[in-house]
C-alpha cells in the first residue's frame, strides 16, 4: 500500500482538519465529533439537511455542505457508517426550529445508525424525517435483499433537496421533492482496479490486468459480472442501457447526466464516456438538460466510473439550477 498519510488510523481526523483549514469561513466541525456543518448553522426557520456515511467517497459528503445544499455531513471511518451519537449531534446542531431531514444511502449500517439517531433526536422533541437513496441498478431490488445501494445519484438528492430547503420549504415539502428525485434517479458503475482501505492495507478485491467489473459498488462490493475490458463506447453503452431499461423515460423527456469518476480515472476518460452517453441519449430522443462530469462520489483510489441519469421536470430543473455554495458543488 502506498498512500499519502501520516497514520492509517487517523486519516479521517486529518482529512477533516485539512478541510476546515481549506474552508475556514464556510465550514466548521462540531467539537469532539466527525461532523461538519456550515459555519452559520443552525439556520433559523430552515429545514436542516444532514447526510453522511463512511469516508472514502470524497468529495461526498462533507464537500456538499454549504448554502443551497447540506447543513451537515457526518463522516464515519473509511467505508464505515458514522455512529448514532455523532449523527445525533449533527441533527441538534442544524435544527433551526423547522425540523431536520436526513439523506441516507441504502446500506444496512447507514440506515440503522441514522434511524437510531433519528429516534434519539425525536425523543428530544426535534422533528426529523428521512429519505433513503437507492439509485444503483446493478443490484437487484427485491424483498430478498436489503435493496439497491445508494451511489452517485445521492448528490442530486443533496442538491435538489438542499435547494428547496433553502427556499424555506417545510419538512414535508423537502421530503416530497427528495423522494421524487430518488424515484427518478438511476445509476450504475464499473471498475478497472480496486481500492485499498488504509486500515486494511491491501486491496479489497482483485481484478486481472485485462479485466473489468460491471456494476461494482462504491466500496468494491460485487457487481454484475467480471469480463475482459472493452472500449469506452461499449462500457458507456452497457451502463446507459442498463439504466434506461430500469427507467421510465420517453421521447422528448429531459434528463441530467452525471459521469462520475471513482477516484483514479482521468477526466479525459470520463469525457470519452460522456461522449457516448450523450450520443446514445440523443439518438433515443432524450434531451440532456445538464451534464456533470467529474468526481462526485468516489471509492478511494478505485479506477472506474459511474453513470447517473435523473429524469427532470420543471420543478427539478429550477432546483437543480439554484445557487449552491458547497465547496464541491458551486452553482
Amino acid at each position: 500500500m502506498k498512500k499519502i498519510m501520516n497514520d492509517p488510523n487517523r486519516v479521517v481526523q486529518d482529512m477533516l482538519a485539512g478541510m476546515i483549514a481549506a474552508y475556514p469561513n464556510e465550514l466548521k466541525q462540531i467539537p469532539a465529533t466527525t461532523a461538519i456543518t456550515r459555519s452559520e448553522a443552525p439556520v433559523s426557520g430552515k429545514v436542516g439537511l444532514v447526510s453522511g456515511g463512511g469516508s472514502g467517497h470524497e468529495p461526498a459528503h462533507a464537500g456538499y455542505v454549504g448554502k443551497g445544499m447540506l447543513d451537515a455531513a457526518v463522516v464515519g471511518e473509511v467505508f464505515t457508517s458514522p455512529t448514532p451519537d455523532q449523527i445525533y449531534e449533527a441533527i441538534k446542531a442544524v435544527d433551526g426550529g423547522k425540523g431536520v431531514f436526513l439523506i441516507i444511502k441504502n446500506y444496512t449500517g447507514d440506515v440503522l445508525n441514522f434511524e437510531m439517531a433519528m429516534e434519539l433526536a425525536e425523543a428530544e422533541g426535534i422533528q426529523v424525517d428521512k429519505v433513503i437513496v437507492n439509485d444503483d441498478v446493478a443490484v437487484e431490488d427485491s424483498s430478498f435483499t436489503i435493496g439497491r445501494r445508494g451511489i452517485a445519484g445521492t448528490v442530486f438528492v443533496h442538491k435538489i433537496a438542499g435547494a428547496i430547503a433553502e427556499q424555506g420549504a417545510t419538512l414535508e415539502e423537502v421530503k416530497t421533492v427528495a423522494e421524487k428525485v430518488v424515484n427518478q434517479t438511476r445509476s450504475m458503475g464499473m471498475a478497472l482496479t480496486p481500492c485499498t482501505v488504509p486500515a486494511a492495507g491491501k486491496p479489497s478485491f482483485h481484478l486481472e490486468e485485462n479485466e473489468m467489473e460491471i456494476g461494482i459498488g462504491i466500496h468494491g462490493e460485487a457487481g454484475i459480472e467480471r469480463k475482459p475490458i472493452t472500449t469506452a463506447d461499449e462500457i458507456a453503452s452497457e451502463l446507459t442501457e442498463k439504466i434506461l431499461t430500469d427507467m421510465d423515460l420517453n421521447n422528448n423527456e429531459e434528463v441530467a447526466v452525471m459521469v462520475n469518476g471513482l477516484g483514479s480515472t482521468p477526466e479525459m476518460e470520463l469525457y470519452i464516456v460522456n461522449k457516448k452517453v450523450n450520443q446514445l441519449l440523443t439518438e433515443k430522443g432524450i434531451h440532456i438538460y445538464k451534464t456533470f462530469v467529474g468526481e462526485y462520489m468516489t471509492a478511494l483510489e478505485m479506477t472506474g466510473c459511474s453513470v447517473t441519469l435523473l429524469k427532470l421536470d420543471d420543478e427539478l430543473k429550477t432546483l437543480l439550477d439554484a445557487t449552491s455554495e458547497a465547496p464541491a458543488f458551486r452553482n
Binding site: G76, S81, T83, P84, Q86, E115, I146, H219, E221
Partner: protein
C-alpha cells in the same frame, strides 16, 4: 439464578475475552458474507465497554447495561453497533428498578432486547442474522423454570451453527443469496460468545 452488578460486569468481561480471542475468526466469517470488519468492530466496542465499566461505581444492573449500550452504539459502528446497542439499551430498560435480577427479570430483559434487535433491524427469525441465536435463547429462558448454564451454551451454539444452513435475506449478506449458505452468520457468532460468557457467569454463581 441471581445476578448482581458484579456478575453483569463479569459477564461483559468474559464476553470481551471471547471476542478478543476470536477477533480474526469473526472477521473471517464476515469476509465470506459481508464487509470483513465484524471482528475488528466488536473487539473495539467490547474492549471499550470493559475499560469504562470497571472505572465506575455502579449501584444498579440497569445502569451497567445502559452504559454498555451507549458505548457499543458509539464504538462498534457498522450495523452491529446500533443492533447490539439497542439490545443492551432495551435490556437495561427492561430490568430498571430490579436489583439483583432473578431469572424472571433476566428473561424479561432478554425478551425486550430481542424485540429491540428485531425492530431496529426489521428482522425476524430464519433470515440468517443474530436474531436466529437470540430468539431460541430467549425462548429457552422463557420455558425453563430452572435455567442450566450448559443448556444456555448448547442452545446458543446449536442456533449459531444452524445459521450456516440459512440463505441470508437481511443485511449485506443478502446480496450473496445462495452463496451465503454454508457460512455461519458473523452476528450470530458474536451473539453466541455473549451467551457462552453468560452461561459461565451463571455457572460460577450457581
Amino acid at each position: 439464578m441471581e445476578l448482581h452488578v458484579k456478575d453483569i460486569i463479569q459477564w461483559l468481561e468474559k464476553t470481551n475475552e471471547k471476542i478478543q480471542l476470536n477477533k480474526d475468526y469473526l472477521t473471517a466469517l464476515d469476509q465470506a458474507v459481508g464487509d470483513s470488519d465484524h471482528g475488528i468492530n466488536m473487539s473495539r466496542g467490547f474492549h471499550e465497554v470493559v475499560n469504562q465499566v470497571k472505572t465506575k461505581d455502579y449501584t444498579t444492573v440497569s445502569d451497567v447495561l445502559k452504559d454498555t449500550a451507549m458505548i457499543l452504539m458509539s464504538k462498534v459502528g457498522g450495523a452491529s453497533g446500533p443492533l447490539f446497542g439497542t439490545a443492551f439499551l432495551r435490556f437495561s430498560m427492561g430490568v430498571k428498578g430490579i436489583d439483583p435480577i432473578n431469572q424472571d427479570a433476566f428473561t424479561k430483559g432478554l425478551e425486550d432486547a430481542l424485540a429491540g434487535i428485531m425492530q431496529r433491524g426489521k428482522a425476524t427469525t430464519g433470515e440468517k442474522t443474530m436474531v436466529d441465536v437470540w430468539s431460541p435463547v430467549v425462548n429457552y429462558f422463557k420455558v425453563t423454570t430452572n435455567v442450566q448454564a450448559d443448556e444456555v451454551t448448547q442452545t446458543a451454539k446449536q442456533a449459531m451453527e444452524q445459521t450456516k444452513e440459512i440463505m441470508a435475506t437481511k443485511g449485506r449478506a443478502s446480496y450473496f443469496k445462495e452463496k451465503s449458505i454454508g457460512h455461519i452468520d458473523p452476528g450470530a457468532a458474536s451473539s453466541f460468545y455473549i451467551f457462552e460468557a453468560l452461561s459461565e457467569v451463571i455457572k460460577g454463581e450457581g
